[in-house]
């Protein structure tokens, strides 16, 4: 049956319902709920790293570079190339790499987007 404007009840109800928009980024930042297991910015624990280079070989975006420091080989992560696939975290044998919940990965200097 054709009834024009059937949406009118819903439209009028929407006037009084709470808005569906979250006013990010100016207000209401507490309304952003990120679940556990969200794939955000990489975090690295140097103490657990054994220098196996598996993360470097597996990264699809070539965002990891191996350098030498006083304890041996270790990766540095370029967040501006990272695609947040978490393959490096999955393949690391000592779980030295983890994904945090930070998703606002913008910076004014490239240096701020390198995790050492």
């Amino acid at each position: 049956m054709r009834v024009p404007g059937r949406l009118v009840a819903e439209a009028l109800r929407s006037l009084f319902k709470r808005r569906a928009t979250i006013l990010y980024p100016y207000r209401e930042l507490e309304k952003i709920h990120l679940p556990e297991g969200f794939r955000g910015r990489i975090e690295f624990d140097r103490a657990k790293c054994i220098g196996c280079q598996l993360c470097f070989r597996v990264c699809p975006a070539k965002a990891i570079e191996m350098i030498e420091d006083e304890k041996g080989k270790r990766p540095i992560f370029y967040i501006y190339r990272c695609i947040y696939c978490a393959q490096c975290a999955e393949v690391c044998p000592t779980k030295a790499i983890s994904m945090s919940k930070t998703f606002e990965n913008i910076a004014l200097r490239k240096e701020d987007l390198v995790v050492r």
Binding site: P4, G5, L7, V8, A11, L15, R19, A20, L23, Y26
Partner: protein, 321 residues
Amino acid sequence: MIEKILAAIFFPGAVFLLAASLFYEWVDRKLYARFQNRVGPHLAGPFGLLQPVADLIKLLSKEDIVPMAADRLLFTLTPILAPALILLACMFLPIAGPSGIISFKGDLIAVIALLSIYTITIYLAGEGSSNRFASIGAVRAALQLIGYEIPLTLSLLSAAIAAGSLSIGGIVEAQAERGIWLIAGPQIIGFAIFVITSQAEMERIPFDIPEAEQEIVAGWEVEYGGRRLALFRLSKDLELILLSGLGAAIFLGGPIGPVIPGLEPVLYTIYFILKSLVVLAIFTLVRALFARLRIDQMVSFSWKYLMSLAVILVILTEVIV
């Protein structure tokens, strides 16, 4: 004489109308967003009230580009003519009193004529830009005029017949004398026709066919930018005041209401604004509820249903009044 000129410039004339048109655009956008469970403008000024102002200033500050093959006369003239026509028509609205700044017998017909000339101006604006999309949009605007003009005229004229006067001021006074608004009676059909055809006049959904964004990329206004586009948008906002004000004056009794002697202009203006905001809310609701029609569907709908309804309305008005 001097008061008339001052009234035409400041209140309730050009300055007041321009400020009010920006306010009406804010109401329209905010209501439309709330119907869709969104926020609407909220950053520029308190509650986003200054958003239309910000948009206008932004447009005015942009570069002015005229296509090489465009008709310079039309390209320059139509953006000035469009808001001027609507502003002139708004002078007939009874805002601060039972009759407008300009008022004479038969001024209802003058307003309808100005609205038609406005649509022809849009046609010229589209044809003057040397762009295929603009030509298609312009032709659609002219076709749409053929569809809605007669039902619009008939609905307003039936109200005039019921009130016994062809001037807007006369219709308002007739409602004040009788004590009831024209909408309470067979003129409610006229109000319905008026709402539908006003949507077509103002080129809003479901009749925003001449500037269908998803089909012909802004239609007749596709080549206009910067100051010229600002003037066209201003003419659209002024049309909001004109048509909602016309609906309020003719069907809802205009600025008439309980008054305190001495404060009459202020109270009349407040009543006028409140009533025309109600009509504006109805316009916005209609805009939120439908999809866009095709031009052939719009014209055939107009001639099949709106025309017959308008003719029935005229017969009813003659019989009952």
